[in-house]
Subunit: 485 residues, 2 copies
């Protein structure tokens, strides 16, 4: 693995100056939009515009070509039409620009001509400039002040998750929805057709990058299967790699070809890949999101025996059924545990067995806290799941009870400090009416408080257990036995 | 089937007067909460309180027993401790009260004593009073002005969905989340242990009720399997019955026993039940919600061949992969269709094959409308799915583009009028940050506009296709072939 990537890609991720090729004097080019979001996002370096005839656009000086820009240029964003791109790359090379992104589509995914254009660009680049794209959304680098469309309001704060994404649309959702887990990113790269930087080189970068401890990827095809396999394998147990492989179905393969012109590959090949490398295989967008995020919240281990604490019996029934589907066990509580729990909650309308049912989300905070401690002390249990114990609709329904809700949240956070087992909280999105947006606001505020206390929060038990299963299987594969209590 | 149930249960669902037994003079009883929500909900009939010693509580006169109430009493809500319930029911019978709900828990699900209490109550009731519960949340009857805890803010508007729910916690969520589909209810009954009214009699009621055209149920056990099978079968093809059976796993059976004291039954028995009766089997809360709702939006048929119109190529890849999992087909577009579509959308960064990718959610409204018409005219396609074509985050990101968004929504609604095939819209919940609640508000407003135009809207393709698959299988089972175009 080349040790130089961290330095080599520095101008791409932390450019001191950016040039935009593809701005229109009328203001409606993709380059203009890129300029706008770059400003809104708060990019701090110099911005140069390139336009064949205009000398000033949107209050900034424009130059006829990248070559004519007086100062140093670290990174060029290109959204000019495909046939112009080879010349623009030639200008970049002549100017000594180290990195560029080709946003423009219409290459190999479209036609044979497009494929030839890609080859021409590669030849002109000649290893002197690193390229993201074409047919991509580019780079979101919170630390470097770069963002991708339409992420003017993405967080500026950096994090520990590196993202390799072959789809632009999905990647914008991924960054937004990461909010739900307080997940932040080191770098996010949407690389499209990947004629230069691709899943292999980007993974090599993340392997080197000390800020990146988890890698999430959406892949449509693979450029160098052997090399990719080797890097993923080398990261096993050190930096989890979570991969959603798109296009494993027959019609999906067709769609992949129309999208990025990639060869999707066969299911059997990919199954073997996951088995050999220990990468976590996920099968959809939310599963990728949930599974990536859980690695930030739990300590490594294979957690198989669960205890549920829930406010409602039906909730416990569903949790049991879902657990079986993921091969989790719900141990029957011992007489000792049952006796202890029976001192805490009344017998009517509750369950003092696992799943434990306190009868209502309106459980007194101290009861919930004590219950969590008792259950966490039970040696046969590996992980605790708190399910439907918060009821953020209370403000709207009965404002006077909100203090109880706050006390319950605080109790869970206190209990978390004393529990050395994974703790997951399920916090449903209850109210979907437009007139009930305050309930959703309350839910998010409870969620954020719990996330900040280091507690993994998900909107339903199914998603919680799917993520926990992926997590546990990963560590089992990496050689960890059941986590010792 | 008794033809009298509609009349017999009228006092339960549309009571002209309600008595509450279980109010505390201190204001903290379950009956007090019931009183509060009943008032907030706007119940229009007379309310009487029953208390052994107090003569006035919360400004209302209290009577020592139901017998002492001067006027007629249609419905009694009971939350007094279990051992008192037999006497209260005896009072109700003496008074000639036709219906009661026993909210109180601590019966057969708790102990042998509790089981005996239930038998005693049944004996006292002697067929003279219809009872919901015990160990239940009771009745939400928007037309009758009745609601269950904590539904003070549930809609007062009635609808066409009848709900039979053996869990109180889930049922409160179900009513709230029905908002997401603009789904309204005729009656919702959480019946818990079901010593009198249960899944059998409630289904008989809904079978008779002309306002109810769809029945959704969450069941833990069955009281009279043969009778239930017979009624469900008789409704096949007339009133869809969608059932989530909880407790099919081993630990789920245990949980069911702790929850409602029901016998959960074996998976094989239930599989046979669904096969014989044609009821729609769902396996979780969201699936029950989504599947029930879809029956309100599509015309009966077995829809197997799908066309996707999406703003983004990766979105199409995922849609293809998910389709395969549900045995949907995505026909390859004919040369004719491809040619027509190619006149509408530029070739770069798009796909003119199925899945159709317009390249971006920012597609001009007239392009989207025309594209929908072309695809809907394609005979090989049974249903259209619009995927990621709205971008309600625009107001926050670039306020000036919101008019385009509105135009796109209007275009889809216009197209819907001219399309005689099912149309589903996927509208993702993008932004999860507490600071981005306005994006969610915008999403809900777009969603509501589409729902009102008769378009089924779901938050992701997986949920859309799971519901459409259940729907298609239902009508296939009811003898419908592939819907003729």
């Amino acid at each position: 693995m080349s040790k130089s990537l961290l330095n080599e890609l520095r101008p791409l991720f932390y450019p001191e100056s950016v040039a935009i090729v593809g701005v229109s004097a009328m203001g409606d080019g993709a380059g203009n939009r890129f300029l706008q979001i770059l400003k809104k996002f708060g990019y701090g370096g110099r911005i140069y515009l390139v336009h064949p005839t205009a000398t000033e656009i949107e209050g900034l000086k424009a130059y006829p070509s990248v070559r004519d820009i007086p100062g140093r240029v670290d990174f060029v964003n290109i959204s000019a039409p495909a046939p112009h791109v080879p010349q623009i790359i030639a200008d970049c090379v002549a100017k000594g620009v180290p990195a560029a992104e080709i946003f423009t589509a219409g290459f190999r995914e479209l036609s044979e001509e497009g494929r030839k254009l890609e080859l021409e660009i590669k030849k002109i680049a000649g290893g002197n400039i690193r390229i993201v794209g074409p047919n991509c959304f580019g780079v979101y680098s919170p630390g470097g002040g770069l963002t991708l469309l339409p992420g003017a309001n993405y967080p500026r704060e950096s994090g520990n998750v590196g993202v390799i994404y072959q789809s632009g649309g999905w990647v914008t959702d991924f960054i937004w929805r990461a909010d739900a887990f307080n997940m932040k990113f080191s770098q996010v790269v949407s690389y499209g057709n990947g004629i230069d930087l691709n899943e292999v080189s980007l993974l090599e970068y993340f392997a080197e990058d000390p800020n990146t401890t988890i890698v999430a990827a959406y892949l449509e095809g693979i450029n160098d299967g052997n090399r990719f396999r080797k890097i993923v394998s080398s990261l096993r147990g050190a930096k989890p790699v979570i991969i959603w492989k798109g296009g494993l179905s027959e019609s999906g393969k067709r769609a992949v070809n129309s999208h990025t012109g990639s060869l999707a590959g066969d299911r059997s090949v990919w199954n073997a890949f996951f088995k050999q490398t220990g990468a976590v295989q996920v099968r959809g967008f939310e599963e990728l999101l949930d599974t990536t995020a859980i690695f930030n919240y739990l300590t490594p281990g294979n957690y198989r025996n669960l205890a549920f604490i829930g406010g409602g019996g039906g909730v416990g029934v569903a949790a049991s059924d879902i657990s079986e589907g993921f091969n989790f066990k719900i141990p029957q509580s011992t007489t000792e545990i049952t006796n202890e729990v029976s001192k805490l909650i009344p017998p009517q309308g509750t369950s003092i067995k696992n799943p434990f049912d306190t009868g209502s989300p309106n459980t007194p905070a101290q009861v919930l806290e004590r219950l969590m401690q008792i259950v966490a002390g039970w040696t046969e249990v590996d992980a605790l799941i708190i399910n439907r114990m918060f009821f953020y609709g209370l403000r709207e329904l009965m404002g006077e009870h909100l203090a109880e809700e706050d006390a319950r949240v605080a109790a869970v956070m206190r209990a978390k400090q004393r529990i050395d087992k994974p703790l997951l909280v399920v916090l449903e999105e209850l109210a979907y009416g437009s007139d009930k947006i305050d309930m959703e606001r309350d839910r998010r505020s409870v969620r954020n408080a719990l996330l900040k206390a280091g507690i993994y929060v998900t909107p339903n038990v199914y998603r919680a257990l799917r993520a926990l299963n992926n997590y546990s299987e990963y560590w089992k594969g990496a050689g960890m036995k059941r986590k010792a209590s």
